[in-house]
Amino acid sequence: MVCLKGFWSFLPYSTVISLSYTTRLYSVCAMRDTILNSLLAAAHGLSDEQKEFQKMAFDFAAHEMSPHMAEWDEKEIFPVETMRKAAQLGFGGIYVQPEVGGSGLSRLDTSVIFEALSTGCVSTTAYISIHNMCNWMIDTFGNTEQREKFCPELCTMDKFASYCLTEPGSGSDAASLLTTAKLEGDHYILNGSKAFISGGGDTDVYIVMCRTGGKGPKGISCVVVEKDTPGLSFGKKEKKVGWNSQPTRAVILEDCHVPVTNRLGQEGQGFNIAMRGLNGDLPFVSMVCYLMAIYIFFSSRFYHLLVRKQFGEALSNNQFLQFKLAEMATKLVASRLLLREAAVALQESRSDAVSLCSMAKLFVTDECFNICNQALQMHGGYGYLKDYAVQQFVRDIRVHQILEGTNEVMRMIIARSLLSESG
């Protein structure tokens, strides 16, 4: 809602360098105004309802997340309370069915919401999207007991979730995973380890892809492992370049007994479930990127190019920079359109949905990283200082070209789809 502190602490444009809370807040609000108004307006083509969601998410991001973004990054804080506040607004299970506590919205609605939320903190929004993905997987592939057991608490974020697919030996080649699940009576015994798990160690519900059958994707099943299950332990907290508001740890399973009733779907369906989850999340991963790029773009435009003077003129009079800005803007609009198209295709279960999502992920993450990087360059030496948010965005966004399917894997998926159509 209204930022009253910002409202009363009106600061003139000339106070660029000072980075007090109020300047930051005002700058986020001014940014938001331009984002919503300009040529690059994020609100174009949205229904009235979607505009309401977006506005609400922007407000939440500006008041509850943005003021803490730098602190969360520096102190590596997992902002449980703020995320629970977000959950109270319905952000815990955005596209999960209402009968188990979700908000029952569409993928496009969700992408609009995450777009806006990521202006507050990329890293936290990314975690919220992972949490939503896990929640959706249980909601969609779980039976009634599983849905009723897990989803309500995930929707309120009384409990948090993690997605465990990657292993030390299998990243891009996810289907070659080695974590085994041997059936013994009414339990599976899990043995193996998972790497780079977002939220690992601090979350309560782990969606683990493990091998119940033979080699390859068809031998993989999806099992829900709860925290405090004997045999479940964690590695050290990884020290990362960015995404510091979410802990990342290895998840270790040693003779971990998990009841068969915790398996989602059928044996052998696990890989499919895992990919459906990721595909659904692709737009969001990219969305986060996109919004960061937009934020940085405007930050550069307002707070730097228009204000900074060199050689007797504002930087914005420099044609090279004008051209650079134009290119950045063009790529941003293209990114948004591709993302929304992918989200709609996913919602409508179109046959080209997977391909589109891969294209979106590839294009948006690459381009938006470049945009943020260029923005850092435009800020000159200031861009390199941690006082300025630009560097945090560059660091936080860099990982988007790697996770949830590296951009190389995206190319594989797109090529495969193109060649099979022509065959």
Partner: protein, 253 residues
């Protein structure tokens, strides 16, 4: 105690940099981000709180203006109002619309809806008039609790703590009454996703000022709108004598 009317105004968003139109007839509003007046948000929040505490049964959000104001009514519905009323005013009438016309509309609606309370924001951030609440109370001959920073219902009376220049003033007024919300009355809630969706199903009634017997003729005419003068550079002086000499030369003393 049954019904509260809450006025919500669609204004240019507080974070937007205002630009004056080239013909100096007003400010640029086309394509500019608008949102609910911050003080109106506080008014809605207070009304919804009163309903949650079961002091009132129904909250009706009212806005006057062209079609776009329904967005603002929907936001009020998403915050918890039960239904909305859109009083259609457009074109020249809308441009000339001021507190007196709004007050007449609200007075008529308050009687028609048999409202026990009319809660408004203390002022709008576009014109800063701070008149509508007071005029509405005068037209209805109802007591008014303006600049409210605390509202407590006590039977058929309302205790209002008002923020005034000298500090805080507490008054007790009988209902029906008009209240205007000041900054510290409450912190407006975020609309939740489920509430935004429920708001779609809530009804917004349409009507025209003529239906309420209100004549929209304005007796105020805006002659010209200008930007505030740009701040000039100051002059530094070395001694007090210099300062006095400069002030004298300037004609200030």
């Amino acid at each position: 105690m049954s019904r509260v009317l809450v006025g919500v105004k669609r204004v240019i968003d507080y974070a937007v940099k205002i630009r004056v139109k080239p013909d100096h007839s007003g400010v640029v509003t086309d394509g500019v981000k608008h949102s609910m007046n911050p003080f109106c948000e506080i008014a809605v929040e207070e009304a919804v709180k009163l309903k949650e505490k079961k002091f009132i049964k129904e909250v009706v959000a009212v806005s006057c203006g062209p079609t776009q104001v329904t967005e603002t009514i929907r936001t009020a519905l998403a915050m918890g109002c039960d239904r909305g009323i859109h009083v259609e005013v457009s074109g020249k009438d809308y441009e000339a619309m001021g507190p007196l016309q709004i007050a007449k509309i609200f007075a008529a609606l308050a009687k028609k809806e048999e409202a026990s309370l009319v809660i408004l924001g203390k002022q709008a951030i576009d014109d800063d008039c701070n008149q509508t609440g007071q005029m509405t109370a005068a037209l209805l001959d109802w007591p008014q609790g303006t600049f409210a920073s605390e509202v407590t219902i006590d039977g058929e009376k309302v205790k209002v703590v008002r923020e005034i220049d000298g500090g805080l003033e507490t008054i007790k007024i009988s209902m029906p009454a008009v209240l205007t919300a000041d900054l510290r009355l409450n912190t407006p809630r975020y609309a939740t996703l489920p509430n935004i969706m429920k708001a779609k199903k809530k009804k917004i009634a349409n009507m025209k000022p003529a239906d309420l017997g209100v004549d929209m003729v304005s007796r105020v005419e805006v002659l010209r709108v200008d930007e505030p003068p740009t701040r000039l550079a100051g002059v530094k002086v070395e001694t007090v004598d210099d300062l006095v000499a400069k002030l004298k030369a300037n004609g200030t003393i």
